[in-house]
């Protein structure tokens, strides 16, 4: 079973190395995908809002990691 644990860990590490970073991305995607289409009049702004949130997460997470170092 050791090899299976290793394979799962390797697969996991492809997508996640900072849990809070990945968690924030997941939460924002869930919010944007579920809630934005329900708000009237957003139209093509939905994608812009989705991207903006992700850009903020990227900048904030990098800044946080640099401060912790």
């Amino acid at each position: 079973m050791n090899w299976l644990k290793m394979a799962v860990a390797e697969l996991f590490s492809l997508f996640i190395d900072d849990v809070w970073f990945s968690f924030s991305i997941g939460v924002w995607i869930a919010f944007a995908a579920l809630e934005l289409p329900r708000i009237d009049g957003l139209g093509e702004w939905q994608g812009v809002i989705l991207f903006s949130g992700l850009a903020v997460i990227l900048v904030a997470s990098s800044w946080r990691a640099a401060r912790q170092k």
Binding site: P37, Q46, V59, A66
Partner: protein, 254 residues
């Protein structure tokens, strides 16, 4: 404009470039390990391990490739978009932190030296079927190859983009093999962090686009909005590098 078997449009070229650059990074990493194994334990087991790893990857592509066609398109776009975004933004964040000097740069020469030391300490080689050489080489090819497969399938998941993505990855494989054969040492001169930065930006742009498509969001300019997303991630990354550099400098002065 037609180019071999695919239309030469902005999205297909972007897909091919993304797959080529990402695959180059992964193949260079696999080459470093295979070179270390070949040099220390012998070329026959190193190449047998690498070939066995390649065969396993081909089998996995055949299995998962046929399973993917059974998934509804909106779900597929959403799942691949999320995975692509997590993968791309993880690379991008790491490249930002390396550019800002927060974490150390990836060093192929150092990895090669560490790997050769470990392989030397593992005892004397056991000929063609040396288990340490076979397993190390096999594992390196499978692990790095899995990332290549994921990238090719993910960026090539839109109709008409699988061939450009595969072509990009195949070109990267050919390039790394040729350079590896000529140079015969780890490709330490490859600007790994710059490549990861560019690939991170490209994959993140594709990821957001697929998520939007999967959840039914209309994109301004349709496919061309991928380029705007890529530019947006590049801009955010440069801002992040600037901000990540500041605390370190303040810390050094105090």
């Amino acid at each position: 404009m037609d180019f071999m078997f695919w239309d030469l449009t902005t999205p297909t070229v972007t897909v091919a470039v993304a797959a080529f650059l990402a695959s180059t990074v992964e193949f260079v990493e696999a080459l470093t390990i295979v070179l270390a194994v070949g040099t220390v334990r012998g070329w026959a087991p190193a190449l047998i391990g690498a070939t066995a790893g390649t065969v396993l990857l081909i089998v996995l592509v055949m299995i998962f490739g046929s399973l993917l066609s059974a998934v509804p398109i909106a779900w597929l776009q959403m799942i691949i978009g999320v995975l692509l975004l997590l993968f791309g933004m993880r690379w991008l964040r790491k490249a930002i932190l390396r550019s800002a000097g927060v974490i150390a740069m990836h060093d192929e020469a150092a990895i090669y030296n560490k790997e050769t030391e470990m392989l030397k300490r593992a005892g004397s080689p056991h000929g063609v079927w040396d288990p340490i050489a076979l397993i190390t080489s096999f594992k390196a090819v499978v692990l790095e190859g899995l990332e290549v497969i994921f990238i090719v399938i993910a960026v090539g998941s839109r109709e008409g983009t699988l061939i450009p993505a595969s072509t990009g990855a195949a070109a990267a494989l050919l390039l790394v093999i040729v350079i590896g054969l000529l140079v015969h040492k780890p490709l330490a001169q490859v600007p790994e962090n710059t490549l990861k930065f560019i690939v991170g930006v490209l994959l993140s742009g594709f990821g957001v686009f697929w998520i939007g498509e999967g959840s039914g969001m209309p994109w301004p300019g349709a496919d061309l909005s991928i380029l705007a997303l890529i530019a947006g991630f590049a801009l955010a990354s440069f801002i992040a590098i600037g901000l990540a550099k500041t605390p370190t400098k303040v810390g050094e002065q105090s």
